[in-house]
Symmetry: C2
Subunit: 192 residues, 2 copies
């Protein structure tokens, strides 16, 4: 066997992730993906048996790093300090390796509701993140606050990137907004 096989498979995953995120899974045709790769649509079927297999491949790549953080959090005690550290790590990850995950999930919410397997994978990891931060025995008040802390992180990191800040009527510089969001998140995750 050659030192490595062709990279068409990986390139297909990259292109598909990009298009699924931009346009959604349903609206992206295999022809479109093949065109970008410079191959014919039928040739895609050599690498993936179906469109759904392409989706599954993307998910595997996307969700692996999430599992690491959740696993780590489960070794920690359920304290405000742990929640703060988890929020810090999520905030860091979201700026880097996970950034595409949220965008992809958001753009394909209806699709993931239908494709049972993939939808449950997605929800499973989200649940993992939530339970890493939400104490099931805490007061509802604190549970709401913890959930909102994750939303604040989401807001702080994604909103500047997608350029929707003006849509919210906000004019602050991105970096300042992001810092403020992190600040509020840390506060929310404390007991109160």
């Amino acid at each position: 066997m050659s030192p490595r096989h062709t990279d068409t498979r990986q390139r297909a995953l990259d292109v598909a992730l990009e298009l699924f995120t931009e346009q959604g899974y349903e609206k992206t045709s295999l022809r479109e993906i093949a065109d970008r790769l410079g191959i014919k649509k039928a040739s895609l079927y050599y690498h993936f048996p179906s469109k759904e297999a392409l989706l599954a491949g993307i998910m595997d790549n996307l969700l692996a790093p999430v599992d690491e953080l959740v696993a780590w959090s489960q070794t920690q005690p359920r304290t405000a300090e742990t929640r703060q550290e988890v929020v810090r790590r999520i905030a860091a990850a979201v700026r880097g390796p996970w950034s595409r995950w949220f965008q992809f999930a958001q753009a394909n919410e209806p699709t993931l509701r239908d494709h049972q397997k993939e939808g449950e994978q997605m929800r499973g990891r989200l649940l993992g993140l939530f339970t890493a931060v939400v104490d099931p025995d805490a007061e509802p008040r604190q549970q709401v606050r913890s959930l909102l802390a994750l939303v604040a992180v989401h807001l702080g990191t994604l909103a500047p990137v997608t350029g929707v800040l003006p849509t919210f009527g906000i004019t602050a510089p991105s970096e300042e907004f992001r810092a403020a969001a992190m600040d509020v998140a840390q506060e929310l995750v404390k007991d109160g």
Copy 2:
């Protein structure tokens, strides 16, 4: 002319709203809508010139009540008290007349990004709500807090309805959770 024309048009709007919300705009075919109405697909074209016209009709019905609240808020001073009252009114409206709006918008995020006109309508009303609560001259910290207040309302009213609370690892009774969310929202919207 008869005292009123047939109600097929309005029934079509109702059915379409329901299906678009459940399955998304793209995945709902005109045949499906027609089937539920007990007519043939082609007959739908008598009432609406295109699928997109159906979407537009739904939007008009959905967005009218939002405008009222935004208009009212613009007559008020930009104080923490006003923000609290706006949040109260949004919370009340979301439980009733607007409940379908959020579900519809969330289920059709990708679609609304493509259909320029409808997407901008939707974003316009959202911006209206945001600016009713976010003071453009406030600190980024307070802006984040105000945004999260709206999210808290969203969480408190929608989450119990859709039954996703367990997905968040939360076991509290719906009503208790909703009350806690409103509580946190009111707190976030204060100066701090």
